[in-house]
């Protein structure tokens, strides 16, 4: 049978429709949080879903969950859209509030819970900086301003932190990787 995305890659029309139910709410949550709940966000959700269908053959279950793969595509499109926006519209303000620790532990997938455990092992400053960068999409400069940390420290925290997460995720699987940045170097 294969995973849902593997079936999409093979042109299974039921699987294509199932993606709406499986991934639509996830994409909507990620997009609306950063762009607000306006028409622009709705259009972007549709674009993301189209990208998911088109790129389904690139999904590798050895590297990530399907939700993570879909989230990568959503994050890319959000970044593109934010680049094109001169400013965030006031009538569709993003909701950058984070859920409580208890709520996120309850609701996160198994894979995501492991990442949270990794995150908890980080020093408090680094953890905060990383979350502002990854989850709220703040730039190095914005994080430095918000945390009163030197810009260089912010950059180091972000890069080292994400690199550590990446290495720990990679070590979870003994499967060969299809493309890693280290291999590209």
């Amino acid at each position: 049978m294969g995973t849902l995305l593997e079936r999409v890659a093979l042109g299974d029309r039921d699987a294509i429709s199932q993606c709406v139910r499986e991934f639509g709410p996830l994409i909507w949550a990620l997009v609306a949080r950063r762009l607000g709940r306006g028409a622009d966000a709705e259009d972007l959700v549709q674009e993301v879903l189209l990208e998911v269908w088109r790129n389904a053959s690139r999904y590798d279950p050895a590297r990530s969950s399907e939700a993570t793969f879909v989230a990568v595509i959503a994050r890319r499109r959000v970044v593109d859209r934010l680049r094109r926006r001169a400013a965030r519209p006031e009538d569709a303000a993003p909701d950058l509030e984070l859920p409580s620790e208890q709520q996120r532990q309850m609701e996160a997938s198994v894979d995501a819970r492991r990442v949270l455990e990794e995150l908890d092992s980080f020093p408090e400053d680094q953890k905060r900086v990383l979350m502002l960068a990854v989850v709220n999409g703040l730039s190095h400069g914005e994080i430095a301003e918000q945390t009163a940390l030197p810009l260089g420290t912010v950059k180091t925290h972000v890069r080292r932190g994400l690199n550590l997460i990446r290495e720990r995720l990679r070590s979870r699987s003994s499967e060969p990787r299809q493309q890693t940045v280290e291999e590209e170097l």
């Binding site: 294969g2 593997e6 890659a9 093979l10 029309r13 294509i16 429709s17 709406v20 639509g24 709410p25 996830l26 909507w28 990620l30 709940r37 549709q46 879903l49 088109r54 790129n55 389904a56 053959s57 690139r58 990530s64 939700a67 993570t68 989230a71 990568v72 595509i73 959000v78 984070l98 859920p99 996120r104 609701e107 996160a108 997938s109 894979d111 995501a112 819970r113 990442v115 949270l116 995150l119 979350m131 990854v134 989850v135 999409g137 950059k155 180091t156 890069r159 080292r160 994400l162 690199n163 997460i165 990446r166 995720l169 990787r177 493309q179 890693t180 940045v181 280290e182 590209e184 170097l185």
Partner: protein, 285 residues
């Protein structure tokens, strides 16, 4: 400073959207497949899902209108894929992909696939509005179905040939879907936008019982009202031999992007549920 290489630092910045457009282009050019997520992107996405408590399948439901749009997009995407040759699938490294499957040249198909998705989505969105265009859809256009062997002069087939001979007509080949009625079916659509005249030719399309169901043509077009397809009329097929059917839309159709044949109840429908799509012919496909 970190102990990471400059390339790894760029990969990290890329994953977080910190690169400007020029830097982004430069970075992507270093990757073998820029569409494939990097490890940094996967790490960032997984971290975001974890922090937000997402990915466990208990996210808030989609807004109703958005859900309808996405479902229509899914149908249109599946419909468009059905129009591709049966041995074509996506390029990639899907483990289940058999060696004989030919990779899909997405650049060739993407335009009309996206157009079909957009058109059907917009059509669906309009259908959901009370003041929508359903009642404004053109009346069904009875088409003449005429096996060539039975044609009387000037036959529909001869009219089709005459139209082709005049030039300036669009000729699109039908692509069969997996529907059992389309097994082995082929043929083409000839359409002349200036004259607003066209003909469909079928060979091998399964004959229908008009008491049970009829074939119906739908035209997706850019020029008229792009928000929903034009009903091209119902018709019957009584021979597996060559059959030619005239198209006679009552409203003007500019730049058709997709012709599609569905199986519907006798008399046809105003809005197709698209449960049985048998043939499609796409411009540029």
């Amino acid at each position: 400073m970190t102990d990471m290489t400059p390339q790894a630092e760029r990969a990290c910045d890329h994953a977080l959207g910190f690169l400007d457009e020029g830097e982004e282009r430069e970075f992507l050019a270093t990757l073998e497949d820029p569409q494939l997520p990097t490890d940094f992107e996967l790490a960032a996405a997984e971290l975001e899902l974890g922090v937000l408590g997402l990915g466990g399948g208990n996210e808030e439901r989609l807004p109703e209108e958005l859900e309808k749009r996405l479902e229509a997009a899914a149908t249109a995407y599946g419909w468009a894929l059905s129009a591709l040759p049966a041995n074509v699938t996506q390029r990639g490294n899907t483990p289940a992909q058999s060696p004989e499957v030919r990779p899909l040249d997405w650049g060739r198909y993407l335009g009309w696939v996206a157009a079909a998705v957009a058109l059907v989505v917009a059509w669906s969105a309009l259908r959901s509005k009370p003041e929508g265009p359903v009642t404004a859809l053109p009346p069904q256009v009875p088409s003449v179905v005429e096996p060539i062997a039975d044609a009387a002069p000037p036959s529909v087939a001869e009219q089709r040939q005459a139209l082709l001979d005049q030039g300036k007509s669009q000729k699109l080949s039908w692509s069969a879907t997996k529907d059992e009625a389309a097994k082995g079916a082929s043929g083409d659509v000839v359409w002349n936008g200036a004259k607003q005249v066209g003909y469909m030719r079928f060979k091998g399309l399964k004959p229908n019982d008009p008491k049970q169901n009829q074939y119906q043509l739908w035209i997706f077009a850019k020029g008229q009202d792009e928000r929903y397809p034009v009903d091209g009329g119902v018709f019957d097929v009584d021979s597996t031999g060559e059959v030619v059917v005239a198209i006679d839309p009552k409203i003007h159709v500019d730049d058709p992007t997709l012709f599609a044949i569905t199986v519907e109840k006798p008399g046809g429908v105003v809005v197709s549920k698209r449960e049985r799509i048998v043939l499609t012919a796409a411009a540029g496909g």
